[in-house]
Amino acid sequence: MSEFKIGQREVENVSILELKGYLDAHTAPKLEEAFQSLLRSQRYRIVVNCRDLSYISSAGLGVFMAFIEDARNGKGDIKLTNMSPKVYNVFDLLGFPLLYEIFKEEQEAVTRFFDRTK
């Protein structure tokens, strides 16, 4: 099944995960593996680009919660970008903007990692 795909690339030493499709209880383990693999390689600066993410349920949201602490302990972060209003609404409903930095564009999130005033 190709209902959910993850692309990965590096920009200025920040890891970008591009999510595509439907993130639910069935596909959430794929995202979990992607985070685990990055954190194992001590890549703690992560931007998740949600441009092509069509759907997210609480199983997907739970994955973000599972790894944010590890990323921050490694002096990095998980930042989210390019969400459709539909996907943003689900994050917003659960108060995620309190805990996660969410940007309109990927480059803003990448730049934020190098913002010394933060």
Partner: protein
Amino acid sequence: MKTTSIQVESRTERLIAVRDFVSEAARAFGFGDEDISKIALAVDEACTNVIKHAYRSDPTKIIQVNVSADNGTFQVAIQDEGLRFNPTQVQPPDMKEYLTHYRRGGLGVYLMKSLMDRVEYSIVPGKSNEVRLTKYLPR
């Protein structure tokens, strides 16, 4: 009253079929895209709870989803014959506290209540559980 239903095996790969089924019924009833998304997500959460909690990921079990639509009321009943789980006993989480402590799981019930107009639960002890999710068509 118009009633339609779908039966699926208790497997997470079947969630997409349930979402599609419910979305189509909601669209036919007259809901717009935003409400259709809310209904599909709420039903996904209910089914995910059944798969993980009531059936403990046993893929041989069956989930029954019945949609009834009448007089501006759209109701989805999700039935299982698994372990008892009563979402009315789940307290609404303090989201800031919740997120601060990075807890996982338990978000599904909160989402269902936020997305739908009514969430009801009935249990026939030792026999079946039913979650009923209701949304009213905007006038």
